[in-house]
């Protein structure tokens, strides 16, 4: 790293590879040669690319740097290399390469953070700047967060009078559930349109995904890709399916069972707390009632965290060829467990115990506890750790500076950023929003204040997420994206589950039961019939609202039309030339 001291001052550093301090010279030389080989074959950043795009290209080239005829890493005979194995991956797993990360650009970051979260007046986020600095993936997350928060405002506004005036007649229940249903569908459809506009604006809407390179961790026997004809690792799909269905699926089911077990312990605690309160209704016993819920909420968060690591390990082991396929399998695993873990107890209270008071109390405790925990785990804790590290670093640098009396901004910056925590992608952020969406859409009929809490949470979330992106974490590699991907599907699935749940809640609410007091069968049949009609209506609505706004659609068609016309002209010209030549 000391070599940085002597480099050209006009040089802008983009990506840092941190090797262990004892790395042998041979290995460094070899790695540099292999990387320079790449450069000759193209991949050098052009000046019209944004910094994020250059970093993405370098990342891509490094990821696809695979061993050819080398049997081992030069200087390390014990670190074997097989043809087609990712070199970077190998170096990383053997601890020679410690990390690989892009550098922050201090001036731009300052500008961005000012317009993003340091301003006093409320305004929309600078999505274009975020996209320019962090890439489309990040920008889409912040765009979605902002959109979702604003979309929640009507729900929150309607929720307040419902909560304050205890509107609990069956007719008001039905009205609120209907509103919830239409709201869920419409906001997701409108998001699709807004997202298409953003992607069009950023030039990623028509992005082709066909030639995705195999992901860095992918391994297999070297063979030929049937599409490109290029040499790359091949792993039989049947083997992967076996791993998924014989190991991953049973593991997930086991975890779900465990989660159920923990839930039952929670209910026992709850019953005990209630019995204590009933025996001696003191102030402290009143507070004791909330304790089991709080403990349960903490346990849920811990279980989610542990499961997350297990899911990552399993999905890695399934050896998916494409990053997108890996992501889809990981998201599916984590979603199913998180959904179950967070909402199972609420469903149990609602439909098995049918205790609406406990449901409301439990929902409120879970929601508030998980929000507080999340904000703490996401931003405060890393910030505090970071600050401690920064201080140490700055002190050390200051000492050196006084000794050598020379400015070392680049080395200093690289050292600082190398010590920052790694940002693990938008996964957890989306997951949090997904669960919040679940709390609002599934049970807001019972606890209309949920939307208000989520809106408040999200207002601070925007700031804390922006802050952690700019100050707490290493700069992440940008990833081009045309939409929020599999999360769109996840949110849509949740909105369907929400319709069913809301109708079931209406069906078991005492107010509605009282109305149909003479025949329970009639009540259920009516509820089910209306639910089916509304589900059909929901699908129709999603079908009728076009996914891409008209003006974008016209521009896309025009682009395609013009390229076709240009092709036609080209063909005509060639034909003319040919005629001329034949004469």
């Amino acid at each position: 790293m000391e070599s940085l001291d002597y480099c050209d001052p006009g040089f802008t550093p983009l990506v840092v590879l941190e090797l262990t301090s004892e790395t042998k010279e041979e290995a460094i030389g070899w790695l540099l040669r292999r990387i320079r080989d790449l450069q000759q074959n193209g991949g050098d950043g052009d000046s019209f690319l944004s910094m994020a795009e250059c970093q993405y290209i370098i990342k891509h080239e490094l990821d696809t740097l695979r061993a050819r005829d080398e049997t081992h890493v030069p200087g390390y005979t014990e670190v074997k290399l097989y043809p087609g194995k990712s070199i970077i991956r190998r170096l990383q797993s053997k601890g020679i390469l410690i990390q690989l990360f892009p550098l922050h650009e201090k001036e731009e970051l300052k500008r961005l953070s000012f317009s993003w979260y340091k301003k006093v007046k409320l305004s929309f986020q600078p999505l274009d700047d975020i996209r320019h600095y962090y890439g489309e993936g990040q920008a889409f997350y912040f765009g979605f967060l902002e959109y979702f928060t604003f979309a929640l405002v009507p729900m929150a506004l309607i929720g307040v009078p419902y909560y304050l005036f205890d509107w609990e007649g069956y007719d008001k229940y039905v009205v609120f559930a209907m509103f919830n249903l239409i709201w869920c569908t419409v906001i997701l459809e409108l998001w699709k349109r807004y997202s298409a506009s953003l992607a069009y604006h950023w030039g990623t809407l028509s992005r082709k995904k066909a030639f995705e390179e195999p992901r860095p961790g992918f391994h297999g026997v070297l063979g030929f890709n049937p599409v490109t004809g290029r040499e790359e690792p091949i792993y039989p799909n049947a083997k992967r399916q076996l791993r998924i269905y014989l190991v991953s699926v049973p593991f997930v089911l086991l975890c779900l069972y465990l989660s159920l077990y923990v839930m039952m312990i929670y209910f026992q605690m709850e019953a005990w707390a209630l019995s204590v309160h009933d025996d001696e209704p003191t102030f402290w016993a009143g507070i004791l009632i909330f304790i089991p819920s709080i403990i349960y909420a903490v346990v849920i968060e811990i279980m989610n965290l542990i499961y997350r690591y297990a899911a990552e390990f399993l999905t890695e082991w399934e050896n998916h060829r494409l990053e997108s396929s890996y992501q889809n399998h990981l998201v599916l695993k984590v979603l199913v467990f998180n959904f179950f873990n967070c909402f199972a107890s609420l469903f149990y209270i609602a439909f098995v115990m049918q205790d609406m008071v406990l449901l409301r109390q439990s929902l409120a405790t879970l929601l508030i506890t998980s929000q507080i925990l999340n904000q703490f785990m996401e931003a405060c804790l890393p910030y505090w750790l970071q600050r401690r590290r920064n201080k140490k670093m700055i002190n050390r640098v200051r000492k050196r500076r006084t000794l050598e009396d020379k400015e070392l901004p680049l080395v200093e910056q690289v050292r600082l950023e190398a010590d920052m925590s790694m940002y693990l992608g938008t996964f957890d952020d989306y997951l949090e929003q997904f669960l919040l969406f679940g709390y609002v859409s599934l049970f807001s009929c019972v606890y209309p204040l949920a939307a208000v809490l989520v809106v408040l949470n999200n207002f601070t979330e925007v700031y804390s997420d922006a802050f952690k992106m700019c100050r707490v974490f290493k700069r992440p590699f940008s990833d081009p994206a045309a939409n929020i991907g599999v999360w769109q599907l996840a949110f849509e699935a949740m909105s369907v589950i929400a319709v069913v749940t809301n109708f079931a809640l209406i069906g078991i609410s005492p107010q509605v039961k009282a109305y149909f007091s003479d025949s329970e069968t009639q009540l259920i049949l009516w509820t089910v019939a209306i639910e089916h009609v509304l589900l059909a209506f929901k699908f129709l609505l999603a079908f009728l609202i076009p996914d891409i706004p008209k003006h974008i659609q016209i521009r896309l068609s025009r682009l395609e039309f013009e390229s076709l016309e240009a092709l036609k002209k080209k063909v005509e010209q060639s034909a003319e030339n040919l005629t001329y030549f034949l004469k």
Copy 2:
């Protein structure tokens, strides 16, 4: 038409325009000039195109032949023309152009019909030949018909023992309904894959639909298309929406009400027949019981026919810009009414009257009567009319032949075909299959023999449809297609309705009711819960089965990859040339 006598013997006629016999010379000259203008701008059939493709191109060019500065048709001052109005359409509506149709090719037709329906031994249909002669649209219909018939065989095979041995325990009901559910989903998903293979084989899979020309009947103020920048009629979307929601939708609802009214009359007739039978249970009274169902079935067919014309008129009046949009609106209108008209009485019997014996009897009568009527209306009647006309024609030609003693094969053929009935597209054929699919999937739980009847019907349907295409109707213009279009969606919607209906049938079946005799609520809740799980499973299944088979997907990706590589090379070459030039 007499001018055909003197034409070049090497000339192959493709499309015939029949004008009234008193058409003025001026108008003929003008029309020919306008058509020849087209020819100069391209559109002349190349030799590597199939005959069906040439005919399609000519049709397309004629359809888009629009008036420019002509104020009226030359020779007909009363037939006004406005810029942008379709000329062919105008001539047709004013009765100057009687019809426009492609000619059969006698040799090829003979070969095709032999391999299609004249062979004695059973075999698959020659789909490639059908596609070559009639185009992809027709070939897809026959492919679907064949596929659907084979797909029904397992249902039919399972249905027979269910029917014969009166398997009516609740467990067997549930097993049959489950089988039905999985069957529906799987056959539709597999069809998508098969259809993709066919389309790939025929080269229409990646067909772009973006630059569809406005349909011939479309009218509006002349303006500029925002995509192509070309002059074409513009009609405001808001106006169309008003027509749809203020006229078409109320009209459809009125028709549904009427259909309900007719249904009620049928039930009164049914009740009366039953009371007669109960008073005097003679043989004739036993037959009388079936009479109301038969009459009702005939009335349904007549109502469907009348409604069909009304729907076409209305959709035409809605003035859709694209043929596809016109088709979608027409299909939706007709489907909703036909579904309601055919199945409302069955739903009423099943869920309001809860009379399973009547349901079974009613279903059988409706199914058999409509099958017989359809076969008669579709093939027998037109064939018989056609035969009478042909005989007259042949007699007349023979007379002439003896007089002039000269062979006139072309004029004779054109005259014969001009008199044939017009084939109105695959709409009615798909609609019939859709309704049959409904009978099987909705109620086969109650009447397991339905699938057997449909299989038998479809075996003859293949032959009668092939026969009518080759012998009864004028050759239709071919239309390129990549799939069965909106019908895929219609069949999928039906399969969802089928799941709900089957579960409702299980819920009300006496066997299941007896099992849950102590609590009706429990029964309904279980039924609804299982239904929801299965619906979710169905959507998951549809999601998990890829729509395009792997090997086709690989070939498509390779194609795209190769074109991208070629583009890269081209760019590199240009850069090299530029460098060379600059030196």
